[in-house]
Symmetry: C2
Subunit: 341 residues, 2 copies
Amino acid sequence: MVTKGRTGQPTLEEVAALAGVGRGTVSRVINNSPRVKDTTRHLVEQAIAQLGYIPNRAARALAGSRSDAVALVIPETEKRFFAEPYFSDIVHGVGDGLADTDLQLLLTLVRTEKERQRFLQYARARRIDGVLLVSLHDSDPLPDLLAGMEMPTVLSGRRSGDESVSYVDSDNVGGARAAVHHLSVSGRRRIATITGPLDMYVAQCRLRGYEEAVRDSPGGPRPAWIAHGDFTEESGRRAMSQLLERHPDLDAVFAASDVMAVGALHTLRAAGRRIPEEVAVVGFDDSPIARHTDPQLTSVRQPVEEMGRTMARVLLASISDGASAWQHVVLRTELVRRASG
Amino acid sequence: MVTKGRTGQPTLEEVAALAGVGRGTVSRVINNSPRVKDTTRHLVEQAIAQLGYIPNRAARALAGSRSDAVALVIPETEKRFFAEPYFSDIVHGVGDGLADTDLQLLLTLVRTEKERQRFLQYARARRIDGVLLVSLHDSDPLPDLLAGMEMPTVLSGRRSGDESVSYVDSDNVGGARAAVHHLSVSGRRRIATITGPLDMYVAQCRLRGYEEAVRDSPGGPRPAWIAHGDFTEESGRRAMSQLLERHPDLDAVFAASDVMAVGALHTLRAAGRRIPEEVAVVGFDDSPIARHTDPQLTSVRQPVEEMGRTMARVLLASISDGASAWQHVVLRTELVRRASG
DNA sequence: CCAACCACTGGGAGCGCTCCCATGCACGCG
DNA sequence: CGCGTGCATGGGAGCGCTCCCAGTGGTTGG
């Protein structure tokens, strides 16, 4: 078994005794209640420092019926997100945003239906004060279930049309538009796209950006040449093959992710096309592989760590506000120009 | 503030009432104590199922003076580890290994001295039952400090010579030896290496493997051609330049990480060497970029997710055994042959 | 001069569990 | 038949905190 008994940690009671005040007062000082005289506060703070007192989290949680923890839920259906540093960036950002609170960050992998049920039980039992959800599919019922139990929740990468939830997102439409516009102004006239899985909002947005840019392109609207992928490299290859077959004269491709762009590069090279001379390629995400392809990949950068930080901030707000309002934050994306297009 | 008051969750007391037994008995059932009659146990289990009872973690932690949580500590000094999927694989493995326990996984980023102090306080206050440490430098005092407070700890990537701690590691020496041996038997005679930062045990091990393989190589011992890097791509470039200058006739390079190997590839290509015809290149880690280089990179794979799983297992054991023994697990590595050498 | 009011403060009553001692009961032995 | 012995069980006593109510002492106004 686990080591039992006193850990030698000082308690509230001991701090109170040393400071010559009551338990309640010390509690008030710790929780920043304004109803404490300044002189008393100093006294207590001194005692806390002297004893090296650290509040017992379990006791606080029990007495206050909260948990001092938030969960970062990762639906493991999307392995691809891990092949990119997306995940660790998010974690860093969130960690950063939570750094000067007392909230613990719980990592919750939801890979199977069983794990999902287990997580929901956790949530229902209020073992967590809030939830951060990343990489969600449109069809995922998690947000609604969490809303149903009045659990503060923040999504990254919202779902289509659903505004009754807080989310932090990057400007996928704008990013895609910028990418295609860039291709357009650099003289490309026959621009195709490889989409992500269209049951994901990000994929829909990037497609929309492409379509808007193609429609509004200098020199009048042009047809949209679309092939579908699922964010994997293999799907990028396949989609590129389809595109080459249908439109052998294409001179540019916008892929909705770098990983698919890499697949497209391979197919293009195998087909003997020179990049970027004959075909320009632009990706999305600006993941590290973008710098390791040959030629290096032009891509749309999203501020992932910043997104994590913002998610934490929004969640903190909705925990303390009691979810009185939804917050939607959309962060700017940026085109990073490299050699591929 | 957070929602207060009853969460509607049933309590031990209520389960006991429904089952017609006492609190103690229900507690015993939940904790798998053998001192309960089977008929009673069934009764209680039924009541638990009927009410959908979930034990209150905070109350358990408080009453039992433990915390039901383990920390995965990531010293953020090594950003590079995140550029590879190492981190997410570890997290997955650990999550997996913890899946059917009640332990929470706390993600703890230790980026600054302040965060380090804060983490130590947590540990000292027994807010965690155990610690998993990854990506440690030799000089890091964390393991000793944790040992000093009798905190169960498992490292991944041990430190040099220190056996008085549990660790899970992959066979870096063997992997490096295999890589170099492979170069050797495929006819390479002038094999250089680019090391990692030698204050890290993994880097030392990979260098040792190289040296052993070079010494024992078919056709008699050969000189060791060594340049030092720090696991970054830039350092790989630089080290490769040095090597080319010192040994223009080299015909193979073993880089202690894929990222450095990528740097080496760039330098070699810039110097006009054909790969693998003139110079063979082998990396380490088998990270995704290994498949995105041109030519694709031969590399040594370590079972990272398996390492995470094993770390969890070892930690669980040492939590329940009260750290009576150190466990050392070394997992096999595997050479993945691709086009580069 | 007393009532009314205020800003602070002390400490009782739990939160839901685990630990552990006391109790009850059935059994077996002298 | 009386008394240990041992297992199964009930429930008291906290764990360290927060919440909240009942003071305490000082101030103001009638």
